[in-house]
């Protein structure tokens, strides 16, 4: 009886909430579809680690088939065919899935963490801090991000991580605006004031009281950010500002485009484009479904239906 069981109980709460939300989520056809597509891509990404082990021919970047000297269509050995130097397109597609995940998730993570932190600080601190942070956010919002990316991309050597970083840097302001407004509305909630009256420090209030309340929203935004990060990376690669040493779907499209196979090799053109759309779609669907889980108004209706 006298034992402290706070910790496990605490976790249980989250598990309970998670399972509850999960139940709502999985009932949502959109969430379900999204999840199925997403798992397929996850499998692809995982496969990308193993396929190159089959032989040097299956290395996405350097694995040129010695018997093939031009772009070929699907065959038994190369399921989707090869590009013009004889590299397996399917392997590239798998690698692309991995890269899309890395880019999408890490961009989203960085920008959401940054956006959430800044949004919370800005909203909670108010005053001059708020003004300055939000003006900075305004500046980032106003700049056309793709073009800024182009400039920055020429400033630094292009590696996938630099690109991730740049995209993330360009994408935090919208997150922080939303988190800020959420924080503003939380800030004047009695439970925050109650905690202040109890003597809690600003630090504690931000992390113990505000953060758990904005986290679901931040998480939701993360899925949307994943979508935009993947699209931006693809666009960058397509324009030739991607990491040239890294296979990605955008790169594949760039290659099919720049090597003049655009309308000659549908087996090369279509898969990456469709994958980009499908993967972003799945994340987007996930986000929409999550949105409904999170939005109490919608959720109420769901529960009672």
């Amino acid at each position: 009886m006298k034992k402290i069981e706070k910790k496990p109980e605490h976790r249980n709460h989250y598990i309970e909430r998670f399972t509850k939300s999960w139940a709502i989520f999985i009932k949502n056809p959109m969430g379900k579809t999204g999840l199925i597509i997403l798992s397929a891509f996850m499998l692809m990404a995982i496969a990308s680690f193993f396929v190159p082990l089959l032989g040097p021919v299956y290395h996405p970047m350097t694995g040129a088939d010695p018997n093939i000297t031009y772009s070929t269509g699907p065959s038994l050995q190369h399921w989707l065919g090869t590009d013009f130097i004889g590299r397996d397109l399917f392997v590239q597609l798998l690698e692309g899935a991995k890269v899309a995940f890395i880019v999408g998730l890490s961009c989203a993570f960085i920008s959401v963490v940054l956006g959430t932190a800044i949004g919370m600080i800005s909203g909670y601190a108010g005053g001059i801090v708020d003004t300055i942070l939000m003006r900075i956010a305004d500046i980032f919002m106003v700049l056309p991000s793709l073009v800024i990316l182009l400039i920055l991309a020429s400033l630094w050597e292009l590696s996938i991580w630099v690109i991730i970083f740049i995209i993330a840097i360009m994408r935090w302001p919208s997150v922080s605006r939303i988190i800020r407004s959420q924080t503003l509305s939380l800030k004047s909630r009695p439970f925050i004031e109650a905690s202040r009256v109890a003597g809690a420090s600003n630090f504690r209030i931000i992390f113990k009281h505000i953060m758990p309340n904005v986290l679901p929203l931040a998480f939701l935004y993360m899925t949307f950010r994943v979508t935009s990060a993947i699209l931006v990376e693809a666009a960058l690669s397509f324009l030739g500002f991607g990491d040239p040493g890294q296979v990605s779907w955008g790169m594949m499209l760039q290659w099919v485009w720049s090597s003049g196979h655009m309308f000659q090799a549908p087996y090369w053109l279509l898969p990456p484009g469709i994958c980009i759309s499908l993967l972003t779609l799945s994340f987007y669907m996930l986000g929409r479904a999550m949105d409904e889980v999170l939005d109490p108004r919608l959720r109420k209706e769901e529960e009672e239906e």
Binding site: V142, V147, A235, F238, I276, L281, R288
Partner: protein, 324 residues
Amino acid sequence: MKTKKIIFNKLIEITILFFIILTVLFFLFRAAPGDPVSRMVDPTLTPEDIQLLIAQMGLDEPAWKQYIIYIKNFFSGNLGHSFHYGEPVSNIILDRMPCTILLFTTSTLLAAFAGVFLGKIAAWKKGSAIDNVLSIGALLCHTLFIPWFALLVLWAFAYKLGWFPLGGIISPELWINDTSFFIKMLDVLHHMFLPLLTLFFIHLGSYLLLMRSSMLGVLKEEYIITARAKGLSDKVIRNKHAARNAALPVITSVGLSLAFSINGGALTEQIFTWPGIGRELIFAVSNNDYPLAQACFLLITAVVLIANLIVDLLYAYMDPRISY
């Protein structure tokens, strides 16, 4: 009186923002490696030649000095000459601007109207087949990879079916023979159709989804129930009471998406050979044509800032609760 003051304050704020952006950009460009000359791989150019060219472009001065000169010129209305065109940057911009505006405002507005209209219907019939079709369609639009889509559109409608020209803004064949203004206008519209269609679909998705969710929120408001209690018809409730409120966030998004359209626009312009600002900007950035790139950039920034201001005002007009 008070409104005026607020607008004035906003304008000051915008101006400050504008100059901060100008400064950041200026130094960002100068920090980029290479210079406009380094790209010229003509072995007949001696290092002295290159040095001369750089000096003539005023790039041999330290960056801060260049900045002061730029600011000075800026205030006297001189944005400089493009390194590559040799023309005053303002000429180039004045040339490109109408094309971009024509295409993007039309497509954004059309998409916004269509998005509001369809989103309204989808929300009103939530869960129905129409809603599902619209939502999924919108999702697909939202996740389209633009260049890919644009090229496919071009291939299908311009090449395979031959209904539309393969890019460009006019048919030179028509224009070199003096044709009537009316035909020329039709010609421009004919050329505009495919890029318009592409941009329309790209934007449509997000507006539709936004309108739908916003409308769903509004439909739960008390005043909708009140309106029903009054005995108003569904149409009146939907269009007058719900849609108007629900469209407010879409307005904001239209303002913000102007920035986006320049992004997505660059690619679309490239593929449809549309002679707009976005294409010019990409060219200028990748060729280190600083004056041109800066001017395009500042123009976009100014447009976005002003658009946001207008959106704010419009918002205040549409939503009486916000008072300026």
